[in-house]
Symmetry: D2
Subunit: 241 residues, 4 copies
């Protein structure tokens, strides 16, 4: 596996870069400048070995430029690309269209959060119980009331966290049922409370290091290389395990 | 709804009795002695109003006598009985056969634990995620290791708790992965840990009062009356919500 | 011990009444109307046995009337009174003066929260560590950042809870560092987080039943009877253990 | 500040080395071989700059050789040494005597655990509450029962953990009140439960990265340099804040 890394000087990108080095996985950092001209971009990719995958942890505009440039590569180079993993979020409709269009030629996987535990959390909330209801629907029908608390470091600018909003959406929970605690250097804790008279069920995820996001991103790349899927938009759940 | 309560002087039975009184639900305590003779038993039931349900929180032998006596009631009385909820556990094969046999005439629901939260916990572990795996299978395939800790009061005689064993079975977890903490007057806490490098997901249930077991038992009775199912062994999950 | 209970028809008062009955402690419910006239009040107390203690869980105005009436009792009756435990809060300055004045004749103990665990929590925050700092001061000097989260049922009208405010005061924490979660029927959870890079210490108190407040109130009464202190304002910490 | 690091190729030692490099603190790794001969050892130290401190995270025998060699250094070199921080444990009586003897000439600080949070935890248990009792004594006198649970990764060989044993000692808790959970890659969680009827207080410490032990060790070195204490055995609590 060879990884082309876009966004390698960001906080997550540099963690991914370190981890790839530690695992001796050949990595090609794709500088922002190279995205600017078609010629530089093609030169960069013409030297690329087989079995390459692009991992994009830049910003939405970085993603847009990337997609546009890849689109124009010749088919010989495109064939080397086993997939593109996009970790940026907040794409405009136009950007989404471009991604969708390119996915007809190359497998593309959109991943808003690289934590396996958050993925498992989200999957639990949506999982179907024996009578056909989701876990959250069953909880409601049993009389449980739900609310979510998230804890992050004091430097975090937004509240509630994006992950809390996403989990609340899955749980069909209005945003006003999210509370936010800010303290010290907490990387991220999300707890969903199911409460009723005299009992409580809690599902809690704790991230202890930002490294896990790097590990999750690399795992998805490995799985795409291993499973060699056809072109298309890939379902994250098939490539995260 | 009229409830015939067997085992009303046990710890759970007396809580159920108090709660039924508090909710003004007509309750007929069925003394152990009445189970002893056919005549007393039939007299007891001949005076019973319509829409009756038997709630049995006695012991396995109490359950056996109950089943034998109900079997011999005439069909007019049997018709008054909308169902039997059996909260005893550890039945012999012979007892199970008798229960099964009677269920051809009267709806019977076997419930090993009356907590809605423990029921939800168990349902979560078995729920099917989007790729067809159960929650526990998905956790394993994502690289999580699982273990369970349970906390109970210092007077508890067995370890691990029956609920922990039952959750571990659902999670396909060998019993040696259960640890037990004994402290003070804790009614019951069960935590399932999903751990891997740099992150942890926890599912934790806390029972804060034995009253919740009484509430759960009564809820099931109410649902059976409301849904009026046909004779047969009832699936707990259809009558707990 | 004989207990004169003021406020016996409130939520906490009726729990205390039930618990006193369960413990076979002679209890004399003091109706609000009896506070209204000097004659009724004196009649009530003239029939009182020795070793009596007044437990007041009414409202601040109830406390005020109580204090005024007790003040006027003759010394023979006053001698029967081993103490007054006041569980109301939010007294005006005038009310505080009256309490202080009466305490010259009868031991009086002011208790804002009858939970032993909350008392222990508060004592921990203020406890002196080996180098003379309090626990909270030591935590700060070690580089920990502190914040508090409290969880209560959805019917609670105020946020943050009074207990959270009181703990924050002890910890020298500004009120904006308290977050509040509202869910289901939670009686009360308070968690103080101490966070810094790569580690977290948490102190968490959970109340599982309102009964504990009743137990705490009765404990203090028992201790005052047992220790038979001189007149004065009693320090809660000497009578809660 | 200049740090002489003994044990730099161990798991903790290499983390300390990386952290010292990241903070641009001049570091001199002291190879085990250099401890073997007096001449090599003196050469090593004669080239050392002023304001040096030795940080020993080797093994007890490493500590013993270190102490013996430092003892024989000439006074000019000894004067450069502002202190020795010893992070090894399990010293024999003879080793303890040698350490004590050298502490008459050079400040020495013995530190069994470099986590600030575990230090805070331990200090809390021993802290004196307003009536003169320690926190644990007060908890007992309030009727709380105590037990401890510790969680670590599945590769851990001993149970209970050394930190759990040490906290239990401080809390006067017999070792059979410690339970151990082993799961995944947990670096270390220690929870002390205070339970009684209807309420629970918990104190929980979570270590999220081994890096915190490195940070703690370096902090103590910095404080010794800053405070420049006289020769003697230093109390950890004066140099950890």
């Amino acid at each position: 596996m060879n990884i082309v890394l876009l966004g390698s000087n960001g906080r997550l990108g540099s963690l991914i870069h370190n981890q790839l080095n530690a695992e001796n996985i050949p990595t090609f950092a794709l500088a922002k400048e190279i995205l600017a001209t078609k010629k530089d971009f093609q030169n960069f990719f013409s030297n690329l070995p087989e079995n390459a995958i692009i991992l994009d942890v830049s910003l939405p505009t970085g993603t847009e430029h990337l997609i546009e440039q890849v689109k124009q590569l010749n088919s010989e180079i495109k064939n080397k690309l086993k997939g593109i993993v996009i970790g940026t979020t907040g794409h405009t409709n136009a950007q989404q269209e471009k991604i969708k269009d390119l996915s007809k030629e190359i497998p593309i996987c959109l991943v808003s959060n690289f934590s396996k535990g958050v993925f498992l959390f989200d999957q639990i909330l949506n999982a179907k119980t024996s009578n056909g209801m989701t876990v959250c629907e069953l909880a409601h029908s049993l009389g449980f009331d739900l609310a979510l608390n998230e804890i992050h470091h004091t430097q975090k600018k937004d509240a509630p966290s994006g992950t809390a909003v996403s989990l609340a959406n899955t749980a069909n929970l209005p945003l006003e049922r999210i509370s936010s605690t800010r303290v010290g250097n907490v990387i991220g804790e999300h707890t969903l409370y199911f409460s009723q008279d005299s009992e409580m069920l809690e599902i809690k995820h704790s991230a202890h290091s930002r490294k896990l996001f790097a590990l999750g991103a690399i795992q998805i790349c490995k799985n795409i290389i291993a499973k060699s899927p056809n072109a298309g938009l890939l379902a994250k759940e098939e490539f995260f395990t």
